[in-house]
């Protein structure tokens, strides 16, 4: 039941004299602030925050939360975002005081359990990518792209080639973060054309590849959900031209244990553990953006990296796989793992502290829960679900890429747009009325009226059938109804033009 009274802005709910938090009395001698700090530095009054009670805060935010769709409440087939189920055991693990209450600058000897997890994560991610060196530092996929491109720049600088290699080639169906990261890393971007199946246009690629190329950034499976048909040739040609291949790992959910970027020619990649390894998306974040690279690029990775000191035994003696099998030895030797800052060629830091550890810890839980077979089963089922849904949807909306896909596919609303004037956005909005989060729309930019669907492996056949049926019904509905959709959500379509033209970005007060 909606409660709109308590979802008024906090500033409206505020009343002078109310408060929620109380603090302990000060148990040490105090003095006047004026004696302790220069007057010029001290504010006349504390910031005018709202004055509300604890029950008010809870009712306010919980009622707000019910206005969201989420993975726990709805099918959320948002293409490219891998909105899979977020396991609850991972949440519990990340909240354990032994992890949640760790100070990031603790001495290594005090955090051996944590470093064990992070060291293992470096190993796991390297194994899954086929790229031997790993940095867990970047805070999101885009941050990983940026860090890896700085690594590439440092590598070329070291070889005296950076002046010459100014270009990063980016297929035109790549995610927007790819070209944006390349520019931040100081490169010029060159767009490479792609074909209707999402594959790289080889003529265009060959015309643009030369000795000015530093990096080709490629997404594979690509953003229409197809495994790049010429992957190996492309990688070989980039390497022959002296360039490096960057793999945007946003779509790793399709290939876990099946093929590895390092084996198909990538020199570096990022992961989105918040996609592939089930980190919850948090309404937009947090993510993490660990990167893996070849041995040649390893010296340039951000510092610190977790190192295992000597060949001691494992921190804990619980089940390890054969290759990890280690004698039980607990309590631990004090410094089995340590943070290594001694990396003279490193690009330095891209943020403070170690990384988005809480997200990495959830990913660790996910990998340990699945094991090697389980991860492969994840990808198999993600691909099976996507192909199944494609087989249902292609009769309703054309899927230009063809009959098969990997973990996602892109349907096009251009026919229905032409025939009935119904836009991809109309369909997306109407799906909300049917109780489904909308797919990603208008991305990739290369497919007109793109509707990008990624069901993930954590959905049932029944859900996929029901979603396809809803989509079919929508295409039969009157355009007028669809233009005005959604009809059942807390609000109808917002006026985005007004929002951008006269921005109101914070509550107006007094």
């Amino acid at each position: 039941m909606r409660n709109t009274r308590d979802t008024q802005l906090l500033f409206v709910l505020s009343k002078p004299g109310r408060r929620a938090g109380r603090l302990p009395a000060c148990d040490v001698p105090t003095a006047d602030i004026a004696e302790l700090l220069p007057t010029a530095a001290v504010a006349d009054a504390p910031p005018a925050l709202p004055e509300v009670t604890e029950p008010q805060i809870i009712r306010h935010f919980l009622n707000l939360s019910t206005q969201n769709m989420s993975v726990d409440t709805h099918f959320y087939p948002l293409g490219s975002c891998t909105m899979k189920y977020n396991p609850k055991r991972n949440e519990r693990a990340a909240a354990m005081p032994g992890f949640a209450d760790l100070h990031p600058l603790s001495p290594d000897a005090a955090v051996q359990g944590m470093l064990h997890v992070l060291y293992e994560m470096q190993q796991y991610l390297s194994e899954i990518s086929g790229l031997p060196a790993c940095s867990l530092q970047p805070a999101a996929g885009a941050h990983g792209e940026y860090a890896a491109l700085l690594v590439a720049a440092a590598y070329f600088r070291d070889r005296g080639e950076l002046e010459q290699r100014r270009r990063v080639l980016v297929p035109d169906n790549a995610h927007g973060t790819n070209p944006a990261s390349a520019v931040m890393a100081g490169f010029d971007t060159v767009a490479v054309k792609t074909l209707p199946n999402g594959g790289v246009d080889m003529d265009d690629f060959r015309g643009k590849l030369d000795d000015r190329t530093a990096v080709l950034m490629i997404t594979n499976p690509n953003t229409v959900g197809i495994f790049e048909p010429n992957m190996r040739v492309i990688a070989d040609e980039v390497h022959a031209a002296g360039g490096l291949v960057y793999l945007d790992g946003a779509n790793m959910n399709a290939i876990l244990g099946i093929t590895r970027p390092g084996d198909f020619g990538a020199d570096m990649q990022h992961y989105n553990p918040h996609k592939t390894f089930s980190g919850p998306h948090g309404g937009g974040g947090p993510g993490a953006g660990p990167i893996c690279v070849t041995d040649a690029l390893a010296p340039y990775l951000p510092a610190p990296i977790v190192e295992r000191v000597g060949s001691g035994s494992s921190v804990v003696g619980s089940q390890e796989s054969e290759h990890n099998a280690a004698a039980t030895n607990y309590p631990l030797p004090p410094t089995l793992y340590r943070l290594s800052y001694d990396r003279p060629k490193s690009i330095g830091r891209v943020r403070s502290f170690f990384g988005n550890v809480g997200v990495l810890l959830r990913a660790y839980c996910y990998i340990r829960t699945h094991g090697p077979d389980g991860l492969k089963r994840v990808s198999e089922n993600a691909v099976l679900n996507a192909n199944y849904l494609l087989s249902r949807v292609k009769h309703i909306l054309p899927v230009p890429q063809g009959d098969r896909c990997m973990h996602e596919f892109v349907a096009s609303g251009s026919k229905i747009k032409k025939e009935k004037g119904v836009a991809a956005m109309d369909i997306a909005k109407r799906l909300l009325d049917y109780g489904y989060h909308a797919p990603t729309v208008y991305f990739p930019l290369t497919v007109p009226e793109a509707i990008m669907v990624e069901p993930t492996e954590t959905e049932s056949k029944e859900t996929l059938d029901a979603f396809a049926a809803a989509l079919f019904r929508i295409t039969e509905e009157s355009p007028e109804l669809l233009h005005e959709a959604p009809h059942s959500t807390p609000i109808s379509r917002p006026d985005e033009v007004q929002a951008a033209r006269s921005p109101c970005l914070c509550a107006r007060w007094d």
């Binding site: 979802t7 408060r19 938090g21 602030i33 302790l36 530095a41 504010a43 504390p46 910031p47 805060i57 809870i58 306010h60 935010f61 707000l64 939360s65 969201n68 726990d72 055991r89 032994g98 209450d101 100070h103 600058l105 603790s106 359990g113 944590m114 064990h116 194994e127 899954i128 999101a140 996929g141 940026y146 927007g176 944006a180 495994f227 099946i258 590895r260 084996d263 309404g283 974040g285 947090p286 804990v316 619980s318 089940q319 830091r349 943020r351 839980c365 090697p372 099976l384 087989s391 989060h437 492996e457 959905e459 049932s460 056949k461 379509r493 917002p494 985005e496 929002a499 951008a500 109101c504």
Partner: protein, 456 residues
């Protein structure tokens, strides 16, 4: 596998509908020679119980703020996290949703972020806030990029040595591949010398950074720093401590143009360094250069007030290589937690928290300096952190001794500042009690007596 639905029968039906022989068939587009052809070398699967036991064991191998007494600071602090933050932060509709592209199905997130932005503008006295960046250091680096763009041909950034070393390192990394230069101003007295700053700043300076209170815990003369920056036509970037604003002047009060902070202290635990909350607020005139998601108020078709992501033409998904930044995923969940934190604190709670930090840290500093072994490294007044010098120059030994007694006593500074290798940075939050501090003093000051006694 615990999260998969498809039964063998489902699989058969689905494959039939697809027109595929087998699941392997679906992977036919991947050439055989690129396939792995072996199992990944990873540990075998664990059930929930095994995983839980494994993690508990690992967690118990850590010394943390729950089983040790934490006096560590340097940008991450053991502040109290109220229960409301955990309850709201673990609400599925918040933490399992994605960026609110579909406003109609995301009003909860959008309003919570709008409220966060509003709270941050009030907290900082700045005109606009975005809805979060990764962390304090990368927010500072993004602020520097903003200032460079706003500054046209200006290519110099001046940062004092009193700015967090990891923030300076992050900024240096961000500037390495573009045409800009980071100049570090030495701070031998622990604070910025305004005359030295004035000498370092010129018409080529795009921005001056100021950390308030600074990395050493000292309170800077923000007004003078602001005046120097302004005289040179440079922007002032303030790196502030959100909790300190219960007492100290806000960045907007002393004329900061961009204000950034590490916001984990607003209701998110330390978690070994992340995920955290990068706060960024700025002048209205800079908003179109600001990185990250921004939520705005508008109306829907029925004329109802509502919220939506706005000014998106700044962003990578629209502008690609022309975007103001590459940020896509941010730290939205911690913005929501911060909104909950700031509402539960209210003006009075924030003030009292800040006062407790101030009084308690001053108490600990005095007690330590009462021992012959320790002295304050700097004269400038401090807020919740301070640097003490160990006259015996045995910081490593002190920390080791304290740790075995259950105290994470402070951060050694020698790694970042060789001239401070005999110094410790100690932080005191509202959580620390007199008893804990007295005991720490006993351990630190007592260790000399113990050692001398042992020598005797």
């Amino acid at each position: 596998m615990p999260y998969l639905y498809n039964t063998p029968e489902d699989q058969r039906e689905m494959l039939a509908a697809i027109g595929a022989e087998s699941v392997d068939d679906l992977f036919a587009p991947i050439p055989d020679d690129l396939k792995l052809g072996r199992a990944l070398q990873l540990p075998a699967a664990m059930c929930e119980l095994e995983l839980d036991q494994h993690l508990r064991e690992l967690a118990s191998a850590n010394q943390h703020a729950g089983n040790a007494v934490c006096f560590l600071g340097g940008g991450s602090y053991d502040h109290f996290v109220p229960a409301v933050c955990d309850v709201i932060g673990s609400r599925s509709e918040f933490y399992t949703s994605y960026t609110p592209y579909q406003a109609e199905a995301s009003q909860g997130n959008l309003q919570a972020m709008f409220e966060y932005q509003s709270l941050i503008t009030r907290l900082t006295g700045m005109e606009v806030s975005n809805s979060s960046l990764y962390d304090g250091a990368s927010a500072a680096a993004e602020a520097v990029l903003m200032a460079l763009h706003a500054g046209g041909k200006r290519t110099k950034i001046v940062a004092p040595a009193s700015l967090h070393p990891e923030y300076r390192q992050t900024i240096a990394t961000y500037l390495e591949c573009i045409d800009a230069e980071l100049v570090t101003l030495p701070c031998p007295a622990g604070v910025i010398d305004a005359d030295e700053l004035a000498a370092a700043v010129d018409g080529d300076t795009a921005a001056v950074l100021l950390q308030q209170p600074n990395f050493f815990g000292c309170v800077e003369d923000a007004d003078r720093v602001a005046a120097v920056a302004k005289d040179a036509g440079a922007l002032l970037i303030s790196v502030f401590d959100p909790i300190s604003l219960g007492i100290l002047k806000r960045p907007g009060d002393y004329g900061a143009n961009i204000a950034v902070a590490e916001g984990h202290t607003l209701g998110t635990p330390m978690s070994y360094g992340g995920p955290y909350l990068g706060i960024m607020a700025c002048d209205q005139s800079l908003v179109r250069r600001m990185p990250g998601r921004i939520v705005g108020e508008t109306t829907d078709r029925r004329g109802n007030k509502c919220f939506v992501l706005t000014l998106q033409t700044r962003e990578q998904h629209i502008r690609r290589d022309k975007a103001t930044s590459n940020v896509c995923s941010n730290q939205a969940l911690f913005a929501v937690r911060a909104a909950a934190y700031l509402s539960q604190a209210g003006p009075q709670g924030l003030k009292e928290t800040a006062e407790l930090c101030l009084h308690k840290s001053r108490y600990l500093a005095e007690q330590l300096c009462a021992s012959e072994r320790f002295s304050m490294a700097f004269e400038a007044p401090t807020f919740k952190e301070f640097v003490i010098r160990d006259r015996d120059n045995d910081v490593a030994g002190l920390l080791q001794q304290a740790r075995s007694a259950g105290y994470l006593a402070g951060l050694p500074l020698g790694g970042w500042y060789p001239e401070l290798s005999d110094c410790l940075l100690i932080a005191v939050t509202e959580k620390r009690t007199k008893a804990e501090m007295d005991a720490l003093v006993g351990v630190l000051a007592g260790s000399r007596h113990a050692r001398l006694a042992a020598v005797d």
